[in-house]
Subunit: 195 residues, 2 copies
Amino acid sequence: MDTISRKEQIIKASAKLFREKGFEAASMRDIAKELGIEAASLYSHIKSKDELLETICFRMADELLKAIDEVNDVYFNAEEKLNSAIKNHVKIVTGDLDASSVFIREWRRLPKEKLPEFIKLRNKYEDGFKQILVNGENENVFEAPDKKFAVLTILSAVNWITEWYNPKGNMTPDEIAEHLSNFILTGLRVKTLQS
Amino acid sequence: MDTISRKEQIIKASAKLFREKGFEAASMRDIAKELGIEAASLYSHIKSKDELLETICFRMADELLKAIDEVNDVYFNAEEKLNSAIKNHVKIVTGDLDASSVFIREWRRLPKEKLPEFIKLRNKYEDGFKQILVNGENENVFEAPDKKFAVLTILSAVNWITEWYNPKGNMTPDEIAEHLSNFILTGLRVKTLQS
DNA sequence: ATTTTTGCCTAACAAACGTTAGTAATTTCA
DNA sequence: TGAAATTACTAACGTTTGTTAGGCAAAAAT
């Protein structure tokens, strides 16, 4: 029943350790020990330590990008769009805390020839959110003069989850998404109706 | 006019490098090179690499705690309190981006016997914010059923600044604080007045 | 004027690092 | 059944790491 390949096991173990100790502090020997083998044996399955970080970061980026594209395809209403974009992000992040933490925290340690591509994907993701805000403004439901700033604030909240979320805690991912979505949407909604 | 001591220069240089490369990737030789001396010479002024990280993290924690205590002393109104707490935090973070980034990102690499004390200070700071939210609820101006969650969301936004803030960018720290404060206060205000 | 302290140096250390080479056992496939 | 591929091993490599020892020149203190 061990349907998950050795390489995937290695990636998973390295995500766990990169998160716990940081990319440089987690050694190949640590990762190997996690799997009960020797460090040199890892190289039957992977090319380098950098490759591990790379795989984790780019997989995460792809998953997030796929999610935001889907949202922009399926929904028409900007409020619905933002709401499900946030829900998806929370679901993805809480679904694999190790990989997400590495994606958010350790991407800076990517080999420098891979950094530009990674940053491009990140910006593309941010643009997905920005687009939703523009939609919302056209629909007259959102108010965000500085869109870049608004997106960064939204992403800060959803990314910070990796710093405190506990799967065994008293808040389910859905509840977190619900709370955050409410909080953010309230902050963005046009305020002409208020006294 | 070189009124800043060698030890302070070392701390400053290490903050810069810890931020850029991460605590473990930034070597003592890197730090020494930044100052134009040899790595071994650093040990005339400091005890260890750990001491550097420790100094940076605990100084930052102290500064933030002092600020929140002051706010809770000076103001009576909860909205004013939260507004100036946010402003102070933004000012401190943007005032020393290197140290702040290390404080926010690299604290995990503190020697493990120092970690509990650090976390205690962090929690104390969070409690300062929580107290403001409780005040606001008593004054009937804030609505935040889950206070811990609200505090984490507020702190996520103000801490994330270190990820994107550029001193040469087109947003001053005051403007950032203003925007963020508005956004957050809107999200917290009681909504009974709305249609 | 002489001692003490400061701040740097060179040289070296033991440990840990990522990775390669070469090999042996097992599993997969023709 | 035999060949090929897979997955692990031991041993070792060249680097890099934080840190110590010991010395030497300049500055400060006596």
